[in-house]
Amino acid sequence: MSATVKVDMTVNGTGTSADVEPRLLLAHYLRDVVGLKATNIGCDTTSCGACTVLVDGESVKSCTVLAVQADGTSVTTMEGLEEAHPVTAAFRAEHGLQCGFCTPGMVMASVGLLSENPTPTEREVREGLEGNLCRCTGYHNIVRAVLAASGQDPQAATAHPSRSGA
């Protein structure tokens, strides 16, 4: 590939700029140009969400966005969350991660979900995170973590509805 294009974007509050191939994916820009390795790439069909980041506050899969499309935007990766962020704190407290590979994307998708729906139901969390795959946790503790991060009691929020009258 020949011509490069100049992109400027704010990543975790810091200005970045580079001449990149037009085909360069945002995920690779973040990992290889900026050097932020938390964002992982887990598939090549936009299915797993391991690469989820926030672009101007909205969660996107960075393997499906070109760096040039993110020109002029503000990108947040997991590295950019403040220490003791409610979502990361809840992931730890509820054991919402094991191998950690899906985690940066899962955390950012959760941050995005809660910004749109601050007190989701269990069902809304499950459907809201449908685009993020995890092989380790069975999602049980991830769902609990998101509910806890929203200020709800995860035990109560995942209680099974009574069957009486069914």
Partner: protein
């Protein structure tokens, strides 16, 4: 033990997590090690055809592509094809790059080395390979027929066979009722979120540093050394953070050896990270058995005889998968005390991806078969499936119990596990609701599946190493031969050391997966880690505490008996006189190296109840609830143990309902991406209801058995049975996994003649 309050059994949050949740873990592809500066990127050209002769490879256009440093084919290799498993026929070796033939879609054919990763994809497209197609062999029975051979010199497609004696034609003579069922235990993708990756850099000292994503660094080192014909001591193998394994990352992959060889050949560091599409055809897959199961007994519910005949798919080049039916045979009778049991397994090669371990590895196949058989038998005699199970389980006073597969069950309370899960699930109420829905003819029917299981854990390698050292600053380093990839050993092993030393876990560093630092170790697989490596850490820490007391006795001029180790110090009981462990370490190295050998495998067990709601018009089943008793002895850290159970349960539900690796008749993979493979999301899962039960093993001082695979082994048959149970009143007796809406709908139509 001199600690006031035990840390064991408590819900300690992971010490791994602050890094994992801030800058992220460091997987192989994340490495910024200076030894990898200027590394070339490896892109593999892979076969798009299942079975073909290679007539020509033209690399000229690719070689001219921008950034290309080399294009390597089999003709350039000076390493001989690898026999990928010790018991595999020598005639079924795999070349590191295909020679005259390809035998599965995804087989590496050429290696493209470029300065930049994207350049590799451009150049790989320019490698021209001429293939002369041969008939694909996808079906296991076709493979057994042997009309088309994958390896002509082998003379057949049989990779191996396991049978003690010919089947007894009178096995079922005493039985009033005999039921036979053919079942498919379908092929699954392990699909860890991190695929395979490796990076190699040779030093001036003639040694190579090889980073790769593996579950056991030491075995991977030895395997690669063997394949390359070099001394294992030449390889410094490091497993950085590993993004899931589930058995598929046991040992090394041939690609890792190729990376190592290429780095030497090109005199530059080389990196390789596979894409998901490569992973879905290149990484070993699990299960893949055709089973013919026969069960017989009397109408009172006593099972008298059981037979399982297995054909197992080894894939194109036999690897660990060809061995796993060994476990299926060992565990054939499951929790049941059946007087007569027979089994046989034949392992065939097919023009598909090689098979290996996947969570459970041979045991879920045994459990699925016997649990389905119990249901079929129960249905035939009109008895409740839970009742039939309880009637036939091994009684608690029979342990240690030698099963008909020849293995010794250490301890178990099988009927209690069943009763416990039945009660927790409100089984009687569920049956009543099911009856009401059937009576009303509801569109959404309720299905209830019961499973009981026992499995082998810690069965591969009984021995594991540990070293524990206190440093001058009071911090502690633990070296372990186990190799976590999500299980949380850094936390769990720190708890075990803290138990004896009283040092807070934040001051304890657990190191693993580095063959220079830890030359010996068996890694993490088969749910072995806590009961071998964990116990080694526990014992080493205990010995270290004793050593500290002995040394402190001299120093403090006190009797050893008056000394206690607590809070990282040795003190004289009832006084404030003492010395810290750090101070002792400043005087003389304070370290213990130990080996623990359990001497035998342990046999955790449990029982699950799955409840599904099934729409009889669409055939779609949804797991509404799942209740699980998974007894693996005393629990070190409930948070971690529950996490293991959750993940296993989800993978069990996924096998029962959703997942299957599929090829068409020409051997083309139809599930080679996450868009096509039915990997479940949170939306397909319920929250899980776990019930505690702890029956210790006598095999180790903490009584622990393995918990890693329990969920998968128990949940799969429970959910499959629940789906079938939801439509049992329509006359359906069996549906193969995955119980997809189409299969359920077809089963209903077959059973009712389209009249439902």
């Amino acid at each position: 033990m001199c600690v006031l309050m035990s840390i064991m059994g408590t819900r300690v949050v992971r010490i791994e997590d602050p890094v994992f949740l801030s800058r992220g873990a460091t997987y192989t592809d994340d490495l910024t090690d200076e030894r990898l500066t200027g590394a070339l990127h490896l892109t593999l050209v892979r076969s798009p055809i299942a079975h073909a002769r290679i007539t020509n490879i033209d690399t000229s256009a690719a070689s001219e592509s921008p950034g290309v440093v080399a294009v390597i084919t089999n003709a350039d290799l000076d390493i001989t094809p690898a026999v990928l498993f010790a018991m595999a026929p020598k005639t079924m070796a795999r070349p590191f790059l295909a020679a005259d033939k390809v035998r599965f879609v995804g087989e590496p054919v050429a290696a493209v080395l470029t300065e930049e990763a994207y350049q590799g994809q451009d150049a790989a497209d320019l490698v021209e390979v001429d293939y002369d197609p041969l008939p694909a062999v996808v079906d296991m029975n076709t493979a057994l027929d042997g009309d088309v051979l994958l390896f002509e010199e082998a003379g057949s497609n049989l990779a191996g066979a396991l049978q003690d004696a010919e089947f007894d034609e009178h096995l079922f003579d005493d039985c009033e009722v005999v039921v036979t069922q053919e079942m498919v235990n379908q092929r699954l993708a392990a699909a860890p979120l991190e695929g395979r990756a490796a990076a190699a850099a040779w030093g001036d000292d003639g040694r190579v540093t090889l980073w790769c994503s593996t579950q056991n660094a030491q075995a991977a080192r030895d395997e690669i050394a063997g394949w390359l014909g070099i001394d294992p001591a030449q390889i410094h193998l490091i497993a950085p953070d590993v993004g899931g394994g589930f058995g598929a990352k046991i040992g090394a992959d041939p690609e890792f050896a190729l990376v190592t060889w290429l780095a030497k050949r090109l005199d530059r560091p080389v990196k390789w990270t596979e894409t998901r599409s490569e992973n879905m055809t290149g990484m070993v897959q699990g299960r893949g058995q055709l089973q013919t199961v026969t069960i017989g007994g009397n109408r009172d519910g006593d099972v008298l005889a059981y037979r399982i005949d297995v054909i197992a798919d080894a894939g194109a080049y036999p690897r660990l998968g060809m061995f796993l039916p060994f476990f299926t045979r060992q565990m054939a009778p499951g929790v049941y005390d059946i007087p007569k049991v027979e089994s046989r397994a034949r392992m065939v090669v097919t023009t598909t991806t090689s098979t290996g371990a996947y969570r459970g590895a041979g045991r879920p196949e045994a459990t699925a078969a016997v649990e389905r058989a119990m249901d079929l038998f129960a249905a035939e005699i009109g008895m409740d499936p839970a009742e039939v199970r309880k009637r036939n389980v091994v009684a608690p006073d029979k342990f240690p119990f030698t099963n008909k597969g020849g293995v010794v069950y250490d301890s178990g309370e099988y009927a209690k596990a069943i009763d416990t899960v039945l009660e927790a699930s409100g089984y009687a109420g569920l049956r009543a609701e099911q009856a009401a829905r059937r009576e009303r003819g509801d569109v959404v029917q309720l299905g209830i599946g019961v499973s009981a299981y026992v499995e082998i854990t810690g069965g591969g390698a009984f021995s594991e190493d540990a070293s524990v050292e206190v440093h001058g600053d009071g911090s502690v380093t633990v070296l372990t031969g186990t190799s976590p990839h999500g299980q949380g050993h850094a936390t769990a092993w720190a708890m075990l050391a803290s138990e004896h030393l009283g040092v807070p876990i934040e001051k304890i560093t657990v190191k693993h997966g580095d063959t220079d630092l830890i030359p010996r170790g068996a890694g993490t697989m088969g749910s072995r880690s806590l009961q071998t490596g964990g116990v080694a850490v526990y014992n080493a820490s205990s010995e270290l505490a004793e050593l500290a007391r002995t040394r402190a006795a001299d120093l403090l001029e006190a009797s050893v008996d008056d000394l206690v180790v607590a809070d990282g110090a040795v003190t004289v009981k009832g006084t404030d006189k003492g010395v810290t462990l750090g101070e002792l370490a400043q005087r003389e190295q304070l370290r213990v190296d130990t080996v623990f050998d359990s001497g035998a495998a342990s046999f955790p067990f449990g029982a699950h109840v799955a409840v599904v709601e099934l729409d009889v018009e669409s055939g779609k089943a949804v797991v509404d609830r799942i209740f699980t008793v998974d007894d693996a002895g005393p629990v070190l850290n409930p948070l971690l143990a529950e996490g293991q159970r959750h993940g296993g349960i989800a993978q069990g539900i996924a096998q029962a309902l959703l997942e299957e690796v599929v090829w068409d008749a020409d051997g083309n993979p139809l599930t080679a991406t996450f868009a096509d493979y039915a990997f479940p999301s949170a939306a397909e899962m319920p929250s899980f209801s776990l019930i505690e039960m702890e029956t210790p093993t006598p095999l180790n001082p903490i009584g622990a058995k393995g918990i890693g695979e329990a969920g998968t082994i128990g949940a799969t048959p429970a959910v499959q049975s629940a789906v079938i149970d939801a439509v049992a009143h329509l006359g359906v007796r069996h549906i193969d996994m995955p119980t997809s809406p189409l299969r359920v709908w077809e089963a209903i139509n077959t059973a009712t003649g389209g009249q439902s």
